[in-house]
Symmetry: C2
Subunit: 643 residues, 2 copies
């Protein structure tokens, strides 16, 4: 059993009159789209006409929707776009849009992807919603839920899914071998029937296991031949296979560095092998020294991706795309935007977000991440002068790249509600919408999702929207302050542990002492701030011009430094932590008002999560505040309890 | 494959002439003892005569050994004592004792036990030497290794072994049911054949699972009847079964508190049920609130065992014995002696140590614990005036208790060398010797063990003895200072994490701030110090009279307080941490000198552990020192690096 997410209720036959013109009726996408049109409760009795008209402006994935002369009309150029269009039409009707003014929507991002970190034993790395629905006991599972998942992601216009964890081990190595290739093909066909491409994560070190190769050196002829043969085998079995995601030289995964080669050498070797078949290689930039000595003050993990990739601009083949995490560290609740964005004008780039709430409450805390992603996307990199926003760089617009886009590590699992916390589904929904159109506002997306998921009762919409919009700022308030990050328990990444990472190998230190906290990252420190273009470089150079929310990311500061807000750092810590926990009380109260207005099951599930969050946000508040108080012995101006 | 521990090499027939008088030749113990006499290499060609002579002074477990008229003679009163005597004779001859002056040895402690925390899936809770050799895949294993284990512990005079973890779950619940009772009987018989009794840990909550009972209330007639029936069943199958160890109301285990009953109510209910068969109930006093709010300054875990048990003196039945951990907390490298010892004159008490190095380096660091146990055992409780040492209380002497003794959580597992670190076997050996005779010195025991395990080369004996004697003090130096404990990583209990327990539920806080560290436990604080008798109470009341090594256990102190050593607390921290790491370098150097003088395998294994310890002791040094430095910003007087 599992919930229906935001999808429309199905009826046996909705009596809609549907006319399809110009589509290949044998196409599975068309069959699926037609089926949606015929069974959507929202479309009951309506007249619908969909036409495959070559309208260049719509390109491959766009659609035009209208209500003309009593008929709902759909125009697309492809059958894949028809799938997206149908779902969008259904949603718009459910949202009571009248469509008297036709709308044309074309996805802004070529790649709109979800990355699953699902392991073949059924576990999910950083999964907070139960086990995998793709894998169980080292086998692939294909059942009703698989279809409903693909249908749900297609309904938002996602066009690619990586089904397995980037850390490819054990049985997952066999996804490209005889053992599983048949089932991968079956899954890939199912995905394709909704206009979604299936990708796999790949074990870069795979040929090492082959007794006749025993290497993964990208310059080794045997290695090159091994991959050529492997790609031929894959495409023989799955002719429309999309490509691979690769994590190499990262957190213990082998890669080209092992052989003294560059990241480009590694990526290009694979890209050449897959190129004859039209596949792509998505190469992650999450490369850093994960065995740092904490006493080493010179190495700065924040610089790593930049330092490893910056000089390689122009060296990557056209069917390689770099996948860059939004920030320079690792999905913290607040980080600057990674300086690599816009830094490489001759290299394909896409952005990687994480809707799995690894560091943002693990789907036990509500944390609507779309406002945070919006901030990142609208960040001006000044790559080609003012207005070089991240969203235009990753969409390919700025540097006219065809291979470009956005992806997120997903938050789904086998739980009844798919995402652990019912409200976490807003991130799965919202991220899909954002990939399609980064200009949508967080509020708009939230409202759509609430209405499609719950109902359009004014209180329901208003309260849940308020909860969602409060949630990320609240989480930031009661967590590590001012961009410093990493004050959570190591390994679990959950719950407060201010010194948890302080003496470890992870390169994530705050170095707090009695007087100061933070690592100096300007030109006198690690130089990280100098990796940005002007005027950012100058802005981040000095505390006076650095935005408050990133103060402790960029600078080592005394606790009594006055922020632009007029508060000292220490008082800011106290105030935000008390506020954050109060915000959770408010969100909880707003939810409790919805009893009887949303389904009882959903109400109870969210209530239970809030019970935990109310308690846990106070743990965060008291631990962080006490940590700072004990270190400084500076009392709270308002005399609230510190321990 | 596994090593031979300290046991003598066996030969097919040593040609010794052996005469046994007065023993029951059908007794398995006698058969085993005779076999040892006939196959011990050390006894080759010697004349031995063993007599079962009723010498009241030897009691049940003592023996007299002598060399008279060219014949080695053994006197014992029982066949169990014959086993201990034979092994002792062999060892004495291997150690080149001449026995011209007869020696009489009678174990000082009635109970001399090892507690295994082995789970039936084969894992060992806090096990650092591989998996269990008693259990595998939820079944009991009996093989050659089982026999060699029993032989090894019998050779030291241990007379009881609890084979399963005190946390009794899953399959382990069936150890007293039809599923396993046959194999338990088989194991018990094997143990008995070496004069060792087999005990089981028991699930106090077992009758809850019975649909007709559904309770564990010790006052519930159904519960009482359930246990009576269960004991009858057990003794029908294993007539000489020794008894049970019980962990109740502790760390999530249910117990009498669940039903508003006292610990005595719970223990006595079981004791009554087992009494008709001569069995005993060993009741652990490790009862405390493991869900403490860290903000709560009033609750003091150190008081818990005392507070829960103190008033129950005289209420426990004669076949109940309380098993009390050496300190009030949990096997830290330094704690005061638990105030419960000697506090209950009308209650059987035994002491629980831990040779599994849970908090003392997990058998990756060398840590010879006998000197620490000796300190505890010679601690004067003043229970009946000066000289009321712990060793006399737990041996039953002070209060004339027959049921009394010592036990240790054991450090054994399926590793080749049984104890992970070759040198950790000194604790298994040493603890057995200490149970037999707490007056032996740590050095004596170490020397015996070295000669029996390695050889009697002067350098071997001298270097290893120096290593062993340096090891516990070194570990204390580079760990949490001055008795404060718990600066290790939670869950793993390994490696430094100064604030790891600070904001948790475990009741183990140091509350360090910029100026002070520690919890005040005197009469103005939690009152813990008042639980001791005079003059201890007065001594622990004030820092001036509190021993330096326990300063931060008893008092909240400023970092610049001058210890009796003349050093400030902060300088003491720095100095000891530098010294501790240097001590490890010294121990390592002493070991490296032994290349070629001990077996190559053993040399390499220990070398590898030292490689780790050398590095890890520096981690401890730098993390603890940096933690204190960052908190205080007080520099090291000697200007050594702090981070």
């Amino acid at each position: 059993m599992y919930s229906n997410l935001w999808l429309d209720e199905k009826v046996k036959d909705n009596g809609a009159s549907v006319e399809l013109n110009g589509y290949d009726e044998a196409s599975k996408r068309v069959i699926n789209a037609l089926n949606e049109l015929k069974t959507s409760k929202a479309l009951s009795g309506l007249k619908i006409k969909a036409s495959c008209s070559k309208v260049p402006a719509l390109s491959d994935e766009g659609y035009r929707l209208a209500f003309e002369n009593g008929v709902y009309t759909i125009f697309t150029n492809t059958d894949a776009a028809l799938v997206y269009a149908v779902f969008r039409l259904i949603n718009l009707i459910r949202l009571k849009a009248d469509l008297k003014d036709p709308i044309t929507e074309i996805p802004k991002n070529p790649l709109r992807m979800l990355n699953h970190w699902d392991n073949m034993d059924g576990s999910i790395e950083r999964g907070y919603s139960g086990d995998s629905f793709f894998f169980e006991d080292n086998d692939i599972v294909i059942n009703e839920r698989t279809t409903d998942y693909v249908r749900a992601v297609a309904s938002l216009g996602y066009n690619g899914v990586v089904i397995n964890n980037v850390n490819v081990k054990g049985a997952a190595c066999d996804l490209i071998n005889e053992r599983f290739i048949g089932k991968v093909k079956e899954l890939s066909d199912l995905f394709a029937s909704y206009g979604v491409k299936l990708y796999l994560s790949l074990n870069y070190a795979a040929p090492i296991e082959d007794e006749t190769v025993k290497s993964a050196d990208p310059f080794d002829e045997k290695v090159i031949a091994w991959w050529q043969k492997k790609m031929a085998y894959i495409y023989e079995n799955i002719p429309d296979f999309a490509g691979f995601l690769v994590k190499a030289d990262s957190e213990g995964r082998p890669g080209p560095f092992t052989y003294g080669r560059t990241q480009a050498d590694g990526a290009n070797m694979l890209a050449k092998a897959i190129n004859p078949y039209g596949g792509i290689i998505i190469w992650r930039c999450f490369v850093y020294n994960c065995k740092q000595d904490w006493r080493d003050l010179k190495t700065d993990r924040a610089r790593a991706a930049y330092d490893y990739f910056h000089d390689l601009d122009g060296e990557f083949l056209d069917n390689v795309i770099l996948q860059i995490k939004n920030g320079p560290m690792d999905f913290q609740v607040r980080e600057p935007v990674a300086p690599l964005f816009g830094d490489m004008s001759s290299t394909n780039q896409m952005i990687e977000f994480q809707i799995a709430q690894e560091y943002t409450g693990q789907q036990r805390h509500v944390c609507y991440l779309i406002p945070w992603f919006k901030e990142v996307l609208s960040f001006d990199t000044y790559a080609v002068g003012e207005g070089s926003n991240v969203k235009d760089i990753v969409s390919g617009k700025t540097f006219s790249r065809k291979l470009a886009g956005m992806c997120a590590v997903t938050n789904t699992g086998n739980d009844f509600n798919w995402t652990g916390h019912d409200l976490a589904a807003a991130n799965l929904y919202g991220f899909g919408r954002l990939c399609f159109n980064p200009d949508l506002s967080s509020e708009e997306i939230a409202e759509e999702w609430i209405k499609l998921t719950f109902n359009d009762d004014t209180k329901v919409v208003s309260n849940i929207k308020t909860i969602l919009m409060m949630s990320w700022p609240a989480y930031e308030k009661y967590n590590a302050p001012l961009g410093i990050g990493w004050m959570c328990s190591p390994a679990y990444h959950y719950g407060p542990d201010p010194d948890g990472y302080e003496y470890s190998v992870w390169g994530t230190y705050h170095k707090a002492d009695h007087k100061y906290i933070g690592v100096e990252r300007n030109s006198t420190g690690t130089g990280y701030s100098t990796l940005y273009r002007e005027p950012l470089k100058t802005m981040y150079e000095k505390p006076e011009t650095t935005p408050d929310e990133l103060m402790l990311f960029f600078h080592r500061m005394p606790y009594d430094y006055k922020l632009k807000s007029g508060k000292t750092i220490i008082q800011h810590v106290y105030d935000t932590h008390f506020e954050g926990a109060e915000d959770v009380e408010k969100m909880n109260a707003l939810w409790l008002e919805l009893k009887g207005l949303v389904s009882e099951d959903s109400f109870d599930r969210v209530k239970e999560r809030f019970d935990h969050q109310v308690w846990h946000s106070k743990e965060w508040r008291d631990v962080i505040n006490s940590y700072f108080y004990r270190k400084t012995l500076i009392p709270d101006e308002k005399g609230r309890p510190l321990y």
